[in-house]
């Protein structure tokens, strides 16, 4: 072990100690302020720019419906149950008029693909085959699950521009240390015409 190892390992010191030290002392955080209010103001300005950019991106995303992965979920031991509930709970959103779950099933092939981060997995294609999601780092195959869902949803288009109808979608889950599964991402939806749930649509 050397000094660098020590300083690296110190990063994982107990949260309570780290937090306490950062806010300790007679003057608390004002040391920074006294060292240069101008620097702090610049940091705040940068934060405001980040917020403004994020808000703009979010607003655009809201309009075109790319934030369709905002799921109200409850971690549970059954991944299919987590997805079923997340889809069903769309009804709790004020822009949802109705939602009916048609089919929920675990998909072993897509699971293997995202675990191995193969270019033809739905998630990899959507991300432009970018880096493997951080949520999958350190996970075993048994701790990863892709779940296919088909559901019919009707949204109030005075409140949202999300695509509705009968939709196919993949949900991606990982198992946490307590044994429960959580959704960490979902694919884009593929629309099928309403009233024709078997009208040629297939998994994305």
């Amino acid at each position: 072990m050397n000094a660098k190892d020590f300083l690296n390992a110190l990063n994982d010191a107990d949260d309570a100690y780290v937090w306490q030290a950062g806010h300790a002392g007679k003057t608390g955080g004002s040391v920074t302020a006294r060292r240069g209010r101008r620097l702090v103001l610049r940091a705040l300005l940068a934060a405001v720019i980040v917020i403004a950019l994020a808000a703009t991106v979010y607003g655009i995303g809201e309009l075109i419906g790319i934030w369709n992965d905002r799921w109200l979920q409850t971690p549970a031991p059954d991944p299919e149950q987590v997805v079923r509930e997340a889809v069903s709970r769309q009804i709790e959103k004020d822009y949802t008029i109705s939602v009916t779950v048609e089919e929920i099933r675990a998909d072993a092939a897509e699971t293997r693909k995202i675990f191995s981060w193969e270019p033809d997995s739905v998630l990899a294609l959507r991300s432009g085959y970018g880096p493997k999601p951080a949520a999958l780092e350190g996970k075993q195959l048994a701790e990863v699950q892709a779940v296919y869902a088909r559901y019919t949803v009707v949204y109030d288009h005075t409140k949202t521009f999300y695509r509705d109808g009968t939709l196919d979608q993949y949900f991606y889950l990982v198992q946490t240390e307590d044994g429960n599964w959580v959704i960490f991402d979902s694919s884009d939806t593929q629309e099928l015409p309403l009233n024709q749930p078997d009208g040629g649509g297939s998994c994305p």
């Binding site: 020590f6 949260d15 100690y17 937090w19 306490q20 030290a21 940068a46 905002r70 799921w71 999601p133």
Partner: protein
């Protein structure tokens, strides 16, 4: 907005999570990055990396102390940047000084290898911190976790420079003794 609400936003994959995080912890994380990098532009970039790191790791993570979690992310990313800059021989002398101070009690050049040993070291460090009186522990962490300059540590705690240096010197000696007891030196 409290930590729990911010965490819920992350778990809903709501981009507003980043805004709320920046509002709540922007200055805290920026101070950490600034201490290490000594460069405002690098510090801002580092903090933006922290927000991205949080977005990519929550979920599946659900840190109990969001502030400390973000602080650790920032420290780790800032040290990575510091190393990259250090290779280019520019800036970041606060970390160099801190490393030299720690090297007084941990003189080995051999690098620690293996995740198990690292985990053991982390546990040992936490046990060591448990043994320290509160003020001494805070001073030690302000210097070696937050990489604050000695003058800032003095100012924060209202101590003279001599008192601060002496306290840090004694704590480092305690550290050496503790690590020897634990067979890590």
């Amino acid at each position: 907005m409290d930590d729990q609400n911010i965490m819920d936003l992350y778990w809903e994959r709501n981009a507003a999570a980043i805004d709320r995080t920046a509002e709540q912890y922007g200055s805290y994380c920026t101070a950490i990055a600034r201490n290490i990098l000594q460069n405002e532009e690098d510090a801002e970039e580092c903090v933006n990396d922290t927000w991205l790191g949080a977005w990519n790791s929550i979920p599946p993570k659900r840190p109990e102390n969001l502030g400390a979690y973000l602080g650790k992310l920032t420290r780790s990313k800032a040290i990575d940047r510091w190393r990259a800059r250090h290779r280019e021989k520019r800036g970041g002398w606060t970390v160099t000084l801190a490393l030299e101070e720690i090297a007084e009690v941990i003189p080995s050049n051999a690098s620690l290898e293996g995740e198990l040993l690292k985990q053991e070291l982390i546990q040992t460090i936490n046990r060591f911190l448990d043994t320290l009186p509160e003020t001494e522990r805070n001073v030690f962490l302000c210097r070696y976790w937050y990489f604050e300059e000695i003058t800032d540590v003095c100012e924060r705690f209202g101590f003279s420079r001599n008192k601060t240096n002496l306290m840090l010197h004694r704590t480092r000696n305690k550290l050496r003794k503790f690590l020897k007891q634990e067979d890590l030196l």
